[in-house]
Symmetry: C2
Subunit: 143 residues, 2 copies
Amino acid sequence: MEQNDITAYLERKGVKPTANRILVLKTLKESDRPMCLSDLENELITMDKSSIFRVLTLFQEQEIVHTFEDGRGILNYELCTSTTICNLSDAHIHFYCESCQKSFCMDNIAIPDLQLQEGFIAHSISFVIKGTCPKCNKKLNQQ
Amino acid sequence: MEQNDITAYLERKGVKPTANRILVLKTLKESDRPMCLSDLENELITMDKSSIFRVLTLFQEQEIVHTFEDGRGILNYELCTSTTICNLSDAHIHFYCESCQKSFCMDNIAIPDLQLQEGFIAHSISFVIKGTCPKCNKKLNQQ
DNA sequence: GAAAAGAATACAACCCAGTTGCATTCCACA
DNA sequence: TGTGGAATGCAACTGGGTTGTATTCTTTTC
């Protein structure tokens, strides 16, 4: 994605496109997997942790990213890919690899209708499967 | 549940039934909901946090309790109700109330078969629905 | 029944992800 | 070009979880 596109996208979302915000959005876009705060810290050595955090918080408010907890209880950030992705209806499942500590999107697994007990009202869901990813399974098998 | 039953249960699980361990197990048994470390801290003022933690760790190893993260990324402890509850096959969904910060078991909602992508191997699952519980919804409606 | 060995516990300190206060810098607009 | 508000960096804090270690308790052995 071009710098111009990123700028335009931020503006469309009502966010002033500062250098840092462009940087964070670009990094998230270029990553094929969700990232946590420390992932971004390691990637963006020019930015302070608190600045990254505030950008991510803003992005969340403007529904540019959404979050979920991986298997360790650590927040992961992921770009919203459509206007509706943040809604309950099309939330998706994440996979957390206990070997390499990375999170993956399981876009292809649909979450079935869940019939909650009387009185419970759902706002969001967080479905995480923990295990080992293909790469790590391969490595483990070779040993 | 009687003290004797608790003692016997611990012994059956290969755990020496010390006063603290009996206390923790009793507290968990008497709670109708999963508890986190600080819940137990507040309840068991005679016990140190680290002691509770070590008892819970031991209970986990002996499959007396299992854990899951609630919506805040905080570990919750819950008694294993059968010999198989800790397996992937009969894991269940939890509900986290964002209003009162309590976790609930949704025993009655079965988790459907999940077809993972090639190469991924699941060890455990953690499905949490966030929202508001019946009690809080009632309160909110009255306002 | 006392001493020795080992397990359980309390206390204190630490780790780390997340968060906040505040001073400084940047930038748009007058 | 000066000014006000937004954005940022730095430092410090919070809270859940965890660990090292000294002390206490329990069990074993003689």
